[in-house]
C-alpha cells in the first residue's frame, strides 16, 4: 500500500516538473499592413521609411505579419498599476515576393482601464531582411511593439528595423488608442 502511495506521489511530482517547467500561454495574430499609414508617412517624406524598400522590397506595403506570442506565466509580476511578464515570439512577414522570418523575446504590460484589458508589448526580434547588417553589433535587428485589447480584440502593431541610420518602419493593423488613453497608460506605468 505504502509503495502504491509513494508511486502515485512520485508520478504527480514528475508531472509537476514536466508540465510546470515553463508554463506558457499562447496567442496568435495575423495582421495586414496599415497601407494608409504608410502612404500618409510617405506623403510627409517621413524618415521612418528611409530603408523600407531596401530591406523589405518595393511591395512591402501589401504585406502581412503572422506571429505567435508565448506568455511565460511564471514570470508574471504584479506592479502598482499594471501586470508585467516576459513573452517569447516567432513569426513571419509575408510580402508578395518574399517571406521574412523572425524570433524574439520581450515584455508585455497588461492594463485595465476604460473597459479594456490592454496588452502593451515590447519585443526585440532577430529579423531576416534583404539588407544584411554591415557590422557586428549588439543591437537587435528589429523591434515589435503592439497594443491588443483582449475585450474588443482590436490590435495594432509597429515593426521597426535598424537604428536611426538605416531605419525602416512597417505598421500593421489599425491604431485604436486615443491620445488620452496613451497618457492613461503612462499614468498607470508611473504609479508608485
Amino acid at each position: 500500500m505504502k509503495r502504491k502511495i509513494l508511486s502515485v506521489v512520485l508520478i504527480i511530482m514528475m508531472l509537476f516538473v514536466v508540465l510546470g517547467a515553463t508554463p506558457k500561454y499562447e496567442r496568435q495574430f495575423n495582421l495586414k499592413t496599415n497601407r494608409e499609414a504608410i502612404e500618409f508617412l510617405s506623403k510627409k517624406q517621413s524618415k521612418l521609411l528611409k530603408s523600407n524598400n531596401e530591406k523589405f522590397g518595393l511591395q512591402h506595403k501589401d504585406s502581412q505579419i503572422q506571429l505567435r506570442l508565448d506568455y511565460i506565466e511564471d514570470t508574471k509580476q504584479q506592479l502598482s498599476g499594471y501586470l508585467t511578464q516576459k513573452v517569447e515570439v516567432e513569426g513571419k512577414i509575408k510580402t508578395p515576393d518574399n517571406i521574412y522570418s523572425f524570433v524574439g523575446d520581450g515584455y508585455v504590460n497588461i492594463f485595465n482601464f476604460d473597459g479594456m484589458k490592454l496588452h502593451n508589448g515590447y519585443i526585440h526580434i532577430d529579423l531576416e531582411h534583404i539588407k544584411q547588417k554591415e557590422e557586428l553589433s549588439q543591437i537587435s535587428d528589429g523591434q515589435i511593439s503592439f497594443r491588443y485589447d483582449e475585450v474588443s480584440e482590436k490590435i495594432d502593431l509597429s515593426l521597426t528595423s535598424g537604428t536611426l541610420s538605416d531605419i525602416s518602419f512597417i505598421p500593421f493593423g489599425k491604431p485604436f488608442l486615443l491620445e488620452e488613453q496613451y497618457q492613461k497608460i503612462e499614468e498607470l506605468k508611473n504609479k508608485q
Partner: protein, 256 residues
C-alpha cells in the same frame, strides 16, 4: 551565548555602514554621443545628438577594475527628426569590451551586476571624479533614476566582455534627459548633485603589470517610444519605437 550577542550587536552596528562603504571614487574617462548618418555615409539632417554616454572607471591596482556606464536621453532631436511627440525612454543598453593591448586577453571575469527583476533600485551610489565639475565639487553623487523595469545581462562564456540591458522601463524623462541648451559634454555637470541617467556597472579582472596599457571600449544606446500625429485631428496617433545609434568611449587601463 554572550559572545554570540556581542557578535550580533557588532553586525547590527556595521549594517548602516554598508552603504557608506559602497561609495567609491571613480575617474571620469570620457563623454560621447551618437547622432546619425544617412545612407550615403553623410551626416543626416538630425539637429543634434540622440543619446549621450558618460564613462567612469576605477582600477585601484589590485587587478580588479570597475566601470560605470551612464546613458542620458536626447529625445528632443529624435522627435524633431520624425515629426513625433510624447517621447520616453523604453530601453537602455550598455556594454564594455577590451579592444587592444600588447598583453593578450588582459580582461577576464567580467561581471555585470544587478540582474534580477527590479522595482525601484535607488540605493546604488558612488562617487565620480570628473574634470567637468568644478574643483569645489569634484565628485558626483548619482542614483539610478529608473523607477520600474527589467534588467538582464549577457557575458560570453570566456567572460571578457559584458552587456547590461534595462528593458521595459518607466522613467521620469527629466531625470535622464539633458536639455538641448546644454552641449553633450556638460552632462556630468548638469546632473551634478541630481539623480540622473541610466546606469550599468561592470567589474572585471585585468592582467596588466605596472606600466602596461590596455584599451577598453564602452558602448551604449537608447530606445525611445513616441507617437506620430494621425492625418487629421480626429485620427489615432501612430506609435513608433526607435533605436539610436551607439555612443562609444575608448579609454586606457594602466597596470600599477
Amino acid at each position: 551565548m554572550k559572545k554570540l550577542i556581542i557578535l550580533l550587536f557588532l553586525i547590527f552596528i556595521m549594517m548602516p555602514m554598508k552603504g557608506i562603504m559602497a561609495e567609491e571614487l571613480y575617474y571620469h574617462k570620457g563623454t560621447s554621443y551618437a547622432d546619425s548618418v544617412n545612407l550615403n555615409g553623410n551626416k543626416s539632417d538630425l539637429n543634434g545628438s540622440t543619446v549621450i554616454m558618460s564613462v567612469s572607471t576605477i582600477y585601484p591596482g589590485n587587478f580588479q577594475g570597475k566601470e560605470r556606464v551612464r546613458l542620458f536621453a536626447r529625445c528632443q532631436y529624435v522627435e524633431d527628426y520624425f515629426d513625433a511627440y510624447g517621447c520616453k525612454a523604453l530601453t537602455g543598453s550598455m556594454g564594455i569590451h577590451p579592444t587592444y593591448s600588447t598583453v593578450n586577453n588582459f580582461v577576464s571575469q567580467m561581471s555585470p551586476r544587478e540582474t534580477s527583476f527590479t522595482n525601484p533600485i535607488d540605493s546604488i551610489f558612488w562617487w565620480i571624479k570628473s574634470p567637468y565639475v568644478s574643483a569645489t565639487f569634484n565628485t558626483l553623487y548619482a542614483v539610478s533614476a529608473y523607477s520600474k523595469g527589467w534588467v538582464d545581462h549577457s557575458t560570453p562564456t570566456n567572460y571578457t566582455s559584458g552587456r547590461i540591458n534595462l528593458n521595459n522601463l518607466s522613467v521620469d524623462l527629466s531625470k535622464i534627459q539633458l536639455p538641448t541648451n546644454y552641449t553633450y559634454d556638460k552632462v556630468d555637470s548638469y546632473f551634478h548633485d541630481k539623480e540622473g541617467g541610466l546606469l550599468g556597472t561592470f567589474t572585471y579582472n585585468y592582467g596588466l603589470q605596472p606600466g602596461q596599457v590596455g584599451y577598453i571600449t564602452a558602448r551604449g544606446y537608447l530606445e525611445y517610444e513616441m507617437r506620430i500625429p494621425g492625418e487629421t485631428s480626429a485620427s489615432f496617433p501612430i506609435p513608433i519605437w526607435v533605436t539610436t545609434d551607439e555612443a562609444k568611449v575608448n579609454h586606457t587601463v594602466t597596470g600599477k
